[in-house]
């Protein structure tokens, strides 16, 4: 199973980025191979609709689960249509978040937990 984690950097030592749509990278963790790779979030700097296109990209990579800080309504709609399980509320280093995820410490979310434009850094 492949798991995507929103990340501020390219390694497992990087911090989890609390923003799903506007994070710079995703770390893709393969639970069977226990391997990590990173992909750039090309829509992170989009004028609008970053969450939608980020969700599109993640679902195109056949990811089954997503770990992030917060998830907005537009990204949520795409990810749920793609049947991707979303776990929000993650913080700290990627490797620690993965450990917590493996132990089942994150709860799956059933709806968005922030409003649109959360990742734009203003209210």
């Amino acid at each position: 199973m492949k798991v995507a984690i929103s990340s501020s950097g390219t390694t497992v030592e990087s911090e989890v980025d609390l923003r799903f749509g506007r994070c710079p990278y995703y770390i893709i963790y393969d639970t069977e191979a226990e391997s990590f790779e990173h992909v750039e979030n090309k829509s992170g700097q989009a004028m609008g609709g970053a969450g939608i296109q980020a969700a599109q990209m993640v679902s195109d990579m056949n990811v089954e689960s997503l770990i992030t800080g917060n998830i907005g309504p537009n990204a949520f709609r795409v990810l749920s249509a793609a049947s991707i399980k979303i776990y929000s509320g993650a913080t700290g280093k990627i490797k620690d978040a993965v450990e917590k995820f493996k132990k089942g410490e994150y709860k799956q979310v059933n709806g968005p937990d922030v409003a649109p434009h959360f990742g734009m850094g203003r209210k």
């Binding site: 939608i52 296109q53 599109q56 709609r77 793609a82 049947s83």
Partner: protein, 280 residues
Amino acid sequence: MIISVASGKGGTGKTTVAVNLALSLNNVQLLDCDVEEPNCHIFIKPVFEHRNTVFIPIPRVDQTKCDGCGRCQEVCVYNAIAIAKKKVLIFPELCHGCGSCTHFCPHDAIKEENKEIGVVEIGEKSEIQFIYGKLHIGEMMAPPVIRAVKKHINKKRTVIIDAPPGTSCPVITAVKGTDFVILVTEPTPFGLNDLSLAVKVVRKLKIPFGVIINRSDLGNEKTDEFCTSEHIPVLMRIPFSKKIAEIYSRGDSIIEALPGYREKFQRLFAKIKKVKISQG
């Protein structure tokens, strides 16, 4: 001649200038293109005779024809479409109504339906034909409403356009195609910063322009220095005055309430015509 009134920074006095200039001249059309919060009508108090609805075309997918190829998602530059499990998801609030998805769909699976985003109202008040646009609450696309207002431009009249603040798409939509831009500013660091951005926009659009310094006895000299070094004409100065603020708060016009201002705005118009010739 079409004159637009813009600013960069909000709250510098665009509406004051647009309204009072319009009231000082004959055979005028005043267009309030600040469709996110139009307010010229408060001062003009026109009788509205016509009301038109503004729509944008939003795609609707016929699921029986769609095979989920994703071409519509590829061509949408506004990120308003996603494909999940071969199913098209549309986000209408991000759609600009450009029609690309409909045009490029290889299966003719997309039809457009109109979505109401605002209204345009047209009215009269003595010498002035007044038109304004109003974007509905929760809608984001100001430019189509601004374009709908500008469709009513009558070149036989002197046209004055009250533009929105800022330097983004709505401002450019309002200012584009006008013959002269008045940039209203105030002599403060914020006023100057946003003025310098607005100047870049107007220069890129290659439209003759000049500056009005409002609350001109406040702040510092930097705005004047900027205008001098950039060779930008200062068309008018309006002092910081409690009286003007009171008149504005009551919804009255300066030219009717204060002596000498009608002539000042008429001189402004004469100056604009001169500057336009020298810059054009």
